[in-house]
Point group: D2
Chain length 485, copies 4
């Protein structure tokens, strides 16, 4: 059971007939042929093919501890600097393939699961079985190359209902009943990105507190296949299209976000990692160094995306013949500056990485949070640069169908650029439109704005994890104490 290839990925997704709804209709038929999902599925299949490609397998896999099979490097818990750099190389290979547009390329969730796995020991405090469940599940996913999504944000009203009556009336996810076979769970989650195009889902809610000594029914974490009885997936509007010419990004990279509803779902005991202890979810993230491990994957994705966006605005500036204008130079140099920042921050996270008490090698968190604090503003800024450079061509770049229609001669003539054919020029601006004005770009922007939490949350995290805080204050007070009148 080694790494899987694209064909296997598609087969597994197609085989699983989950309770999936799109625009008020139950989705039937093969997902890999459904217009809403097929573009993304084939993009993702291409990523899986890549790791099976002889040119890359050595760079993207390692030998499973449980056998001789190669398994994905994104599952590797880093124990030293070399492990870290191998992980980076692997992440870069995938990120540069999807240019950072996939927030949920498989390495992301593999990394998340790995990070939780490294903290499994703390689950033993409640019951050794929980730790075992988590370790086994990690090995299962690693050795079967399971494609995973996750769910942790609950519906808006669930927080309020949980405060009003945490047991009876709450909308929050909770255990209804514990049976011999498992836990019966009900609840809902918003924004399980790629929920429908994964095989399983990891559920790790932040529980509301009951302040009772009894087991908190809202304190639960588990992972299940997507096709259990009682599970429902509801999609947002699709932004996907088939034409790569007309919609170069959304035809490939539209990761459908789903709402996942659990209605008395039976979760087998061996898939339960937390039950009853309301502190454990947060501890698992903290002691598993979630922010460090995930942040390290994310910064590489940021870099890949920034490089693509830099290429895009360079291309737009050239196409619009404004490369010599100072305002263009200032716009592009700011993108270069951000790219340097991100690369420097990744280097810093490696340079200041250190082994924790369990021997895992943890990249420094503070530079990674610094990256996540600046990237959303940068994403808005570069979106605006795209808009400014494109002006009316952002909107007025007719679809490819015209270029094979009766008006083709007009368009060939009137839409050509100085150095480009009409087709080349239109292709470039349709790419710009997807990011600068289309729904795909709008969702990308919103996704980046909230990827690791709101700006306030990331600020607080950086503020709290920043090393040696007293050192700076002491420097100032020492300086002032050396004053003489």
């Amino acid at each position: 059971m080694p790494i899987k290839n694209g064909k296997e990925y598609i087969e597994r997704i197609d085989r699983q007939h989950i309770n999936l709804w799109y625009n008020g209709q139950r989705v039937t038929g093969l997902l890999s042929e459904h217009p809403v999902f097929r573009g993304l599925i084939h993009t993702q299949a291409d990523l899986y093919d890549m790791q099976c490609d002889a040119r890359y397998t050595g760079l993207m896999t390692y030998k499973s501890p449980l056998g001789d099979d190669p398994v994905g490097l994104s599952f590797l818990p880093p124990m030293n600097r070399e492990d870290l750099l191998q992980r980076r190389q692997m992440i870069d290979l995938w990120s540069n393939r999807h240019h950072g547009f996939l927030g949920r390329s498989p390495d992301y969730m593999n990394t998340v699961l790995m990070s939780l796995y490294t903290a499994a020991a703390i689950l033993e405090e409640d019951d050794p079985k929980f730790a075992n469940h988590l370790r086994s599940y990690y090995e299962y996913c690693r050795d079967n190359d399971i494609t995973l999504s996750h769910a942790f944000v609950q519906p808006f009203a669930s927080k309020w209902s949980a405060e009003a009556d945490p047991i009876e009336e709450t909308l929050a996810c909770k255990v209804i009943e514990a049976t011999d076979e498992g836990l019966i769970v009900s609840g809902a989650f918003v924004m399980a990105t790629q929920g429908a195009t994964c095989e399983e889902i990891l559920v790790l809610p932040t529980p509301s507190f009951t302040f009772s000594e009894d087991a908190n029914p809202m304190a639960v974490a588990f992972a299940v296949p997507n096709d259990l009885e009682g599970m429902t997936f509801v999609c947002r509007d699709s932004y996907a299209h088939d034409s790569t010419f007309d919609y170069p990004l959304s035809s490939r990279f539209d990761e459908m976000d789903t709402m996942v509803i659990f209605d008395k779902v039976l979760v087998p005991h061996n898939r339960v990692f937390i039950y009853g202890n309301e502190n454990m979810a947060n501890r698992l993230l903290t002691e598993g160094n979630f922010l460090a491990h995930a942040g390290y994957q994310v910064v590489s994705r940021y870099i890949a995306k920034t490089e693509f966006l830099l290429g895009l605005i360079q291309s737009l500036a050239e196409e619009q013949n404004v490369t010599l204008e100072m305002s263009t130079i200032q716009q592009i140099s700011r993108v270069m500056m951000t790219l340097e920042n991100l690369k420097g921050l990744r280097l810093a996270s490696e340079a200041e990485a250190a082994a924790n008490e369990l021997g895992y090698y943890i990249p420094a968190t503070s530079p990674l949070l610094a990256a996540s604090l600046q990237f959303p503003d940068f994403h808005l800024e570069i979106t605006n640069i795209i808009q400014m450079l494109s002006s009316s061509s952002l909107i007025m770049s007719p679809s490819g169908a015209y270029l094979e229609s009766g008006v083709q001669p007009y368009l060939e003539n009137y839409l050509k650029g100085i150095f480009s054919t009409a087709k080349e020029r239109v292709a470039l601006f349709r790419l710009a439109w997807e990011l600068g004005a289309g729904a795909f770009g709008g969702r990308q922007n919103q996704y980046e704005l909230f990827f690791l939490g709101s700006q306030k949350m990331i600020s607080s995290r950086l503020y709290n994890c920043f090393p040696n805080q007293d050192g700076y204050k002491n420097m100032v007070s020492d300086f002032l104490q050396s004053n003489k009148a």
Copy 2:
């Protein structure tokens, strides 16, 4: 031949079978029933009905100088303060009906034509007939309530080709031949907004200069019905939808932008306003006080839009239960501040209005350009506020079809707000999505960013029209000259 109502508007549009293309296909059938156009057409019909509604006719029309029929107030050349305020009231009535989302509601082009008309006398310098043509055309539009679009931006490459060879090889719009019946014109224009949903088009290109003493064939201005032989309209992608619940804005307000191609079109002589004189287009705009008259319409549209957006973010803040957070208060108070700015600037344009030498009463341009300089940045800012306030609900607000499907009970339960039903909450966030992440909002944003030109152009115009510039410098030099050692 009085003002028309919505039904008449629709009939005239449907009667005209223009050579219109959408996504590579010739459009046939009635536009008012075509999914790409019907939403906007019915919105616009509602505007025309409004002026025929007894409650509003008195406020929105005046008696035609050529008869007793009421004609639209947006055609009225203001001669005094009362005229100006009447125009404002009329514009407000329409703007508040479409909440500022229509950049090309009929009052805009009526105002543009009026402004050119007031400068018709300068055309007599070339030939009295040109002035007569313009005056007659203005009267024709006014007394027949013609719905007009306009075209002035030429294809990107036309400027370069015109420099290379202004006569033979140019892509720029030019007169191919002058015949007894009229001028034969070829050329193309990008971004004729609402090109297909108007009856006629006013063409006023900025000509390339030839520096020759002969008549410049690129110096031409005219107006024609949309259905002349040789005219082709090419559409951008549509953002229109039918469901007002799912797409409350694009179902109503998607003003299709078109590229208009003239291929040896015969323009009747009496529709030609400029021919041969390359300075005249610019002079017509300047001496017709285009920026003042158009800017005065635009600022009222900005105000209507800002009021709607203020209501939207107030509603979002309430829905998200964050009205007491300082960051919300700061966001909302900045919108209030901008609304006060815009209203104050409109007042200033009225307070400093003055009659020109022809007796027309011209609103002050400088405050209006100040409004146009700040509105694009504000539009970006409020878009970002919408994104920040909405977080995941911006994306994850399922379409209305779900609310009548098998998953309806889940959604009723899990998507409700603290004070709202799921349906109310979803409706609000779908509105937010259209502006904060969807293609309609993306186009609105781009439209506002370039409405009266780029930021650089508006800065230059404000810089140049600002009154009493030497006065400020002299104040400083006087102050310094009062220095003693």
Copy 3:
């Protein structure tokens, strides 16, 4: 007892030997000859002369209700639009004389006192004598043209000590004892601007609450001459200089800020306006429309300052020969835009002014707060523009003494501009330095940043006073309710 002139102002200040300290030394001698105060005192004397100048008296005074003498228009409670516009004209005359650099030109405090006076009736709820005291004091100041400062911000620690023990241990200003002659008061206030160059001081602290039914000893308001026993004034560092060439602003406009300490000061009963009622201070400000009346004075000062700053950056751009650069045009046009905003907001405050239930004519508050919300950011922005335009000349513009020294020939040669002599060029950049890098400009900036409170406070005030808030939300909900599926 009419308006006073400059000579009388100086005589009154010199006659009063207050307990004033500068840099750890008791100040003795005449203030009008003291290097720290003389520049400002002569600037202020010039303002008083102006109102006695026949060219201006008619525009700057009205006849006292208590006699035939002319009194300052800034004391006039506006009863109608004409009163308001007369007030504006008067304020403009003074603001344009000091170019907005005096935050405490006499019209400011006169306006504040007038606003409190209009609400005197509410003091009758506690005791009719309090209302009488306030009315009499207002008349006294008006008819004697008293120069007034005020104090309301208490020391940082006073708030905390008042919470810990409001009676015994508090540092907050409080009444120690009530005697037949008056109230014995102790406490301190930071930032009484121009404390030493005024005749009297109005003290209106925001009291800490005791939640007791007894009279709150911290709830007190009064006005006293500056030279009472027990009063001490402590100065910040002076930024004043004598040379108008070297320091064109601080030589004229350095309004010394003082800390004022009351140590068992006997306040005569007829000077007490509030005693015991902890709600009254806030009500007096609210019902006296402090923000509206003060804001109306302030916006005129903003305008005068902005006009001067516009002239300065125009002059700098010309001196640096960069008037044709797009970045310069964009910088200057943003200043023009802000000037238009401020003028428009003032117009709006007049256009929406209305009489309150007492018949006073109140300018609309919301546009004035909008001005105060944007001015601090603008002040930072223009400071930065000054820095950017000046580059090394901001720092390297040697003092005037060099121009009469042995190195004068070198400097004449090497410091000249393209269109200017060395002396002219240096004079301009020394003015720029005072605003862009010197201590005077630093204090101006800080003063503007906090003039009517922090940005948070002004945001909250605007948010709360904005008219018709529900109207906007209802517009959005009406719009959504018109949705069909």
Copy 4:
């Protein structure tokens, strides 16, 4: 002739009686006792003492190639990674001593000279002697620990006069005559920082072009002691003070900027590095990798300064008791983010360093320019944070003299903080004032804004030196070419 200590530095400065003017007066007496210079001189002496301190000598020096004496590490041309890191350590030691407030600590100019030295070979193209002069001068400075300033910015009008008549009328620095003893040079330079507190000055003007085949008299570069006949130094206003309590920064760190005038100064031949070849100055900077070597020193200074500023705002937040406010957390976390950026960029410049064809090991320039592009904006931002956190205490923190005067008891009482004495609180806010509102901070800000050129210049440099530019554009065009319809 080893490294010098502080006493030797002072002796050498005092021994040299240069023609120095302050405020129109010739300066006589010992500079080390002059109130304008003594603070900085003693600070600088402390730096020199440090390198002679046994704890640091090993870290801050290396053995001179010409003997066994230790010489300063900032003179070391790096040949490999270890050299670079040793240089960094040395720079950090000094930077952390002066907290980044000295832009011209000795390591800066030592680094500049070292960078030019590494490119000496190109001077051989004109004449081998020029290369020898530069190499000898470098060795002389290194082995005698010469304190150096430099001059390259010429007066504003010199550029225009050089264009009008480059030979006769120009104000630009030029060779008047070549004699047997040397070149006779006239000209002037603005902004030789620390001109008076150094021993020698390196002069490297950017020459105006003559487009003549003759030797361009304006193309000249040399270094001379400060006390040659014909040299004059003119100071800007001093911001220095003696009291470290009242002025903790300007009492120590006010690096006086001087204008340096050469009036027929005889420059000995062996001190001339360039003469006649107008391309050579620019080539020397480019091939000497000036931006890389200087930028590497500068980024370490930025880091030291940012750490101090972080400590300051943390201290201010604590003193104002606002550490729990979200707005404070957001402000401070942005400073932390910038500190992470700068440290990451320094790491990147090391990680991507490479040997050039001459074997010198050059830090990557692009990350260093990215640091210099963001630091000026950050400096403005943190200045504003200081202002915001300090509010009225920024201005109203009385001088130390009060704390030993008759009003001391009042101030002890009323100016204390929650956790601090009045003296501690005042000391902190006087530090804040120096940066947030005082002239020292104003000059620091202007200095940082233009340290390596204007934002436009740094943008252009980053834009031009950014590696692999075509790579990004090609990535986008490859991506688009993979489109299918």
